[in-house]
C-alpha cells in the first residue's frame, strides 16, 4: 500500500482524509459529506444503535458511526440498495412509535421527519404498533412525549456524560425497551432535570419539548423546511 493513501478512504468515489481514531461518519462530516444518521451526534461518543448510517465498507455492511476506516477503504453510501434499507429502518421507527407529524411541535425541526423526506419515504409500509406510551407533563418547564422516542439514547449520554446527572436511562428489553427518568415516582418533575441541561437540547425527535413555546416558529419556516437534511451537512436546529 502506498504511503499517500495511508489516511484516506473513498466515499462514493470521493477521497476523504481521516485522522487516527475517527470513525467513517466523523471523517465524512468533517469533509462536508452527509451520511444519514439519527443516533449519532458529533458532540457525543458514537452509539451505533439506529443503523441508519449503515454503509458498505470494502463490500461489508457496517454502521459508519462506529466503524473506523482503513487506508484505501472503499466506502459506498449513497446507493439505491443502502437507501432502500435505510428507508425500511425509518419505516420501522415510524411504526414502532406514534408519530403524527402534522400535530407535532417538532415538525420541521425533527431529524426523523427530515431524513424520511430526504430518503423519499412515502408511507410507513409496515403495520403500525400503536404502543401505549403516556406523556409526562409533570415538569413545570418541559414535557416528555414518549410516543416519539426512537431510543437513540442521546439524552441518556448527554445527561450522564455532559450534565453528570443520569436523568435518563433505558429500561425494558426488545420491543418493550423504553426511556425512564431518575425518580422513584417516575416523573421528570422529581428529577434534577433543568432546561439548562445538555440533555434538554439533544433529542433528534419530539420527545423532550420546552413548554409554552409551541409553534413560535411556524411550520414551513423551520430548520429542515428551509434546508432539507443532507443538503447542508448539519444545520443547527432553530429554537433549540
Amino acid at each position: 500500500m502506498s504511503p499517500d493513501n495511508k489516511s484516506t478512504f473513498t466515499l462514493d468515489g470521493k477521497t476523504v482524509s481521516y485522522t487516527e481514531g475517527q470513525t467513517i461518519i466523523q471523517a465524512a462530516m468533517a469533509a462536508g459529506e452527509y451520511i444519514p444518521h439519527l443516533c449519532f451526534n458529533p458532540e457525543f461518543k458514537p452509539h451505533g444503535s439506529c443503523k441508519l448510517c449503515t454503509v458498505k465498507a470494502n463490500g461489508r455492511q457496517t454502521a459508519s458511526c462506529t466503524q473506523q476506516p482503513q487506508p484505501g477503504m472503499v466506502v459506498e453510501s449513497d446507493t439505491k440498495e443502502l437507501n432502500d434499507e435505510r428507508r425500511a429502518l425509518l419505516q420501522m421507527l415510524f411504526v414502532e412509535g406514534n408519530h403524527f407529524c402534522p400535530s407535532c411541535e417538532k415538525s420541521g425541526n425533527c431529524q426523523l421527519q427530515a431524513t424520511a423526506y430526504q430518503l423519499n419515504m412515502m408511507s410507513p409500509h409496515f403495520d403500525q404498533f400503536f404502543p401505549d406510551r403516556p406523556v409526562d407533563a409533570s415538569h413545570s418547564e418541559y414535557l416528555l412525549d414518549f410516543n416519539r422516542c426512537i431510543l437513540c439514547s442521546l439524552c441518556v449520554r448527554a445527561s450522564r456524560d455532559v450534565d453528570g446527572k443520569n436523568v435518563f436511562a433505558l429500561s425494558g428489553r426488545g420491543i418493550k425497551s423504553h426511556l425512564i427518568v431518575n425518580a422513584k415516582s417516575g416523573n421528570l418533575a422529581d428529577t434534577d432535570f433543568t432546561g439548562e441541561d445538555k440533555a434538554a437540547h439533544v433529542c433528534p425527535v419530539g420527545v423532550i419539548l420546552k413548554k409554552r413555546v409551541g409553534f413560535v416558529i411556524p411550520i414551513g419556516k423551520r430548520t429542515f423546511d428551509e434546508h432539507p437534511i443532507g443538503a447542508t451537512p448539519h444545520p443547527t436546529v432553530k429554537g433549540a
Binding site: P46, G48, S49, C50, K51, L52, T54, Q61, A63, T66, E85, A88, L89, M92, L93, V95, E96, F126, D127, F129, I150, L151, N166, V167, F168, A169, L170, S171, G172, R173, G174, I175, K176, S177, I180, V181, N182, A183, K184
Partner: protein, 602 residues
C-alpha cells in the same frame, strides 16, 4: 420512610457486604435481593442506589432488562412454563391452561390474592425431560396432569417450595452415547499435573495442535483465541466460561456442569495459566440456578486440593480462582460481549466490535470467553495431547461434539460423536421414526429435511452448538418456525432498530399467517426483512432471526400454503373478530351478528 429503608437494610447489608459493595456486581446483588420478597422493592432500590453509589435510573434500567427480575410483586409462587417447541409438543400449553384454571389465575397476571403468577419463559434447557417449568427459578421437569395438580395443591396450601417432594426436582443426565469426553475417566488435577510438568507454552501449543474450535457456535480456533489474549496488553487478564446455554434445544452444558464440572474448571485453570489470569467467571444461566450449590461445592473442593486459589499445585506465582455469576433470563447474554456487560452488572447489550474481548473484555481487560464444552475439551487435550485430539473427527473439525437430542424420538438425551457423523446415524441411534425434519443448532441454526439426512455434523457441513430437535411427519413445521420467531422477538435486546422492530414485525406476520390472513405478498415481505436483518443488525441474534422461517418456507412450503386462503394482499385486521366483544356483551352469536368474509361469500 426511614424505618422502611432500615427493614431493607437487614437483608441487603449482608448481600452488599458479601459483594464488597461492588457496583460491577449489581446484577448479582439484584438477583439475591429479589429472593427476599420475590421482587425488588422500590425502597430497596433507594437503599442500593445509596450504598452502591449508582443512580436509580441505572438500577431500574438493569432490572428492567432481565426477564427474571421483577420491579412489581409477582407472588410468593412464580411459575414459569418452559415454552420451547419441544415443550409444546409435549403438551405444555394444556398443562398451563389447566394450572391457571385450577388456581383461578390468568396467565401473565398476578393472582387476585397476590399468592402466585403463571407465565411462559424461553426454553429452560430440559427438552429431554419436558414439559418443564421453573418455580421461583428452580427447575421442575416431566410435568404431567398429576404433577401439575399436585403442585396446585401445594401452592393452595402454601407449602414452601423447599418442602415440596424431592422427586419433583430430580433432573436426569440422560447420557446416551459416550465418546472421548463423556466416556473419559478424567481425574481432577491430572491435566494440571501435565501443565506443571511441561509449562504453559507447551499446553498452549497442544491446544493449537489439536485444532480445537469453539463449541459455542462460531467455531473460532481456541488456540488462537488464547494466544491473542495472552499477548494482549492489560493490567489483568480474565477467563470467562460461557454457561448461558440459552439456545432452545441445547442442554449439554447442563450435564457437563452437573457431572463433569472438574473437567470444565480444570480447562479454565489451564487457560488462566496460559493467558496469565488470576480470576475467572462462570456465567451460569439463571435457569440452572439449581446447580449453584453443587458447583460451589466443587470449587471449594478444588481449593482444598490446591487446584484453585493461591499457589496452585504449589507453584509459586500460580494464583487463580473462579467466581460464579448467575444470569437472570436473557438469551442475548450468551453473546460474548453482552455476557461481559452482564458480568459488569449492566444491561446485556452487545458491544461494538472491534475491540474484541481478547483485547478488551471484562473491565476492558483482555478476556477469553469460551463455551463450557470447549473448556472441558481443553482438559482432555492437556492430558492426552493435541495430535491425539486432532486425529479424531474430520480434517477441519477435530475431536468430538456433544449433541442435545430432543423431540420425536425414543431416547432423548446427550449423544457424543466424533465430528462427521451423519444426521441419519444420530436419528437411528436415538430411535427416531418417520422423521420429517431436524432443527440443528436451535432456532438460529438450520432446518434439515429428509433428503438431507446424509449430511454430516461438522463445521464444514452442518455446524452446530449442539441442539438437535427431531420432528416427525405429524408435526406442523409452520408452527415450529412460528415458535422460534416468537423466541427471537422475546429475546431481542432491543438495542438496534432492525432487530428490535424487525423481530416483532416478523412474529406479527407469522401470527397473521397462522390466523389465515396470509398471502404470497407476506412471503416477499419476510424475504425482505431477512435481508435487512442480515445486513444491518448489530449482532448474531438479529442476523439469524429469520433463518427458521426461510428454511421452512423453502423446504416445507405446503405447511405455509395451506394457510394462504388468499392470492392477494389481505390486511391483518379482521372486521368480524373486531365485533366479538360486542357479541359477547349482547350474548348474540347468530348469523346476523357476524360479518361475512369475502372469501366465504364468493
Amino acid at each position: 420512610m426511614i424505618t422502611q429503608v432500615n427493614t431493607h437494610s437487614e437483608y441487603l447489608d449482608p448481600i452488599l457486604l458479601h459483594r464488597r459493595h461492588n457496583a460491577n456486581d449489581l446484577l448479582q446483588v439484584l438477583r439475591e435481593a429479589q429472593e427476599h420478597y420475590g421482587y425488588i422493592h422500590s425502597d430497596a432500590i433507594d437503599y442500593l442506589s445509596e450504598k452502591l453509589n449508582l443512580p436509580r435510573s441505572k438500577i431500574e434500567g438493569v432490572a428492567g432488562f432481565y426477564s427474571f427480575l421483577y420491579l412489581q410483586p409477582r407472588g410468593e409462587y412464580r411459575v414459569l412454563f418452559s415454552d420451547n417447541i419441544t415443550d409444546r409438543m409435549l403438551g405444555n400449553m394444556d398443562l398451563m391452561a389447566s394450572m391457571c384454571a385450577q388456581l383461578w389465575v390468568e396467565s401473565g397476571k398476578l393472582s387476585e390474592d397476590g399468592l402466585l403468577s403463571i407465565n411462559t419463559t424461553s426454553c429452560t434447557g430440559m427438552c429431554d425431560q419436558g414439559p418443564a417449568m421453573l418455580v421461583n427459578n428452580i427447575a421442575i421437569n416431566r410435568l404431567s396432569n398429576e404433577r401439575v395438580s399436585a403442585i396446585c395443591e401445594l401452592i393452595r396450601e402454601r407449602v414452601p417450595v423447599s418442602a415440596w417432594p424431592a422427586e419433583f426436582f430430580a433432573i436426569e443426565d440422560n447420557v446416551r452415547r459416550k465418546d472421548i469426553l463423556l466416556g473419559s475417566s478424567f481425574k481432577s488435577g491430572s491435566a494440571l499435573a501435565v501443565l506443571q510438568q511441561r509449562g504453559a507454552d507447551e499446553i498452549l501449543n497442544e491446544v493449537k495442535v489439536s485444532k480445537l474450535r469453539g463449541r459455542g457456535g462460531a467455531g473460532f480456533s481456541t488456540g488462537s483465541k488464547w494466544d491473542f489474549c495472552r499477548v494482549a496488553p492489560g493490567e489483568q487478564h480474565y477467563v470467562v466460561c460461557n454457561a448461558d446455554e440459552g439456545e432452545p434445544g441445547t442442554f449439554k452444558d447442563r450435564v457437563l456442569l452437573n457431572s463433569y464440572a472438574d473437567m470444565v474448571f480444570e480447562g479454565m485453570t489451564l487457560c488462566a495459566r496460559v493467558i496469565g489470569a488470576k480470576k475467572g467467571f462462570l456465567y451460569l444461566r439463571g435457569e440452572y440456578r439449581y446447580l449453584l450449590d453443587h458447583l460451589q461445592a466443587v470449587l471449594q473442593r478444588r481449593r482444598q486440593q490446591a487446584l484453585l486459589g493461591k499457589n496452585i499445585l504449589g507453584i509459586a506465582d500460580f494464583d487463580f480462582d473462579i467466581e460464579i455469576h448467575l444470569g437472570a433470563g436473557a438469551y442475548i447474554c450468551g453473546e460474548e460481549s453482552a455476557l461481559i456487560e452482564s458480568l459488569e452488572g449492566k444491561r446485556g447489550t452487545p458491544r461494538n466490535r472491534p475491540p474484541f474481548p481478547v483485547t478488551s473484555g471484562y473491565l476492558n481487560q483482555p478476556t477469553v470467553v469460551n463455551n463450557v464444552e470447549t473448556f472441558a475439551a481443553t482438559s482432555l487435550i492437556g492430558l492426552n495431547g493435541g495430535s491425539w485430539y486432532a486425529g479424531i473427527g474430520t480434517e477441519t473439525s477435530s475431536g468430538s461434539k456433544i449433541l442435545s437430542v430432543s423431540g420425536d424420538c425414543d431416547r432423548p438425551g446427550l449423544y457424543e460423536y466424533p465430528f462427521g457423523v451423519t444426521v441419519a446415524q444420530v436419528l437411528a441411534d436415538c430411535g427416531a421414526r418417520d422423521t420429517q425434519a431436524v432443527q440443528v443448532s436451535g432456532p438460529s441454526g438450520v432446518c434439515i429435511a429428509a433428503n438431507e439426512f446424509t449430511r454430516r455434523i461438522a463445521f464444514e457441513d452442518i455446524p452446530t452448538a449442539g441442539a438437535f430437535m427431531v420432528f416427525d411427519q405429524n408435526r406442523d413445521m409452520f408452527e415450529v418456525a412460528r415458535n422460534f420467531v416468537h423466541f427471537f422477538a422475546h429475546e431481542s435486546c432491543g438495542f438496534c432498530t432492525p432487530c428490535r422492530v424487525g423481530t416483532s414485525l416478523l412474529s406479527n406476520m407469522m401470527d397473521k399467517l397462522a390466523q389465515g390472513f396470509g398471502s404470497p405478498y407476506d412471503f416477499a415481505e419476510i424475504e425482505k426483512l431477512n435481508v435487512l436483518l442480515q445486513s444491518t443488525s448489530h449482532c448474531g441474534l438479529g442476523h439469524s432471526a429469520c433463518n427458521s422461517v426461510l428454511d421452512t418456507i423453502a423446504k416445507f412450503r405446503p405447511a405455509y400454503e395451506k394457510r394462504l386462503a388468499h392470492k392477494d394482499f389481505v390486511p391483518a385486521f379482521d372486521l368480524d373478530s373486531a365485533l366479538s366483544q360486542a357479541r359477547q356483551m349482547t350474548g348474540r352469536d347468530d348469523k346476523g351478528a357476524h360479518l361475512e368474509r369475502e372469501d366465504e361469500s364468493r
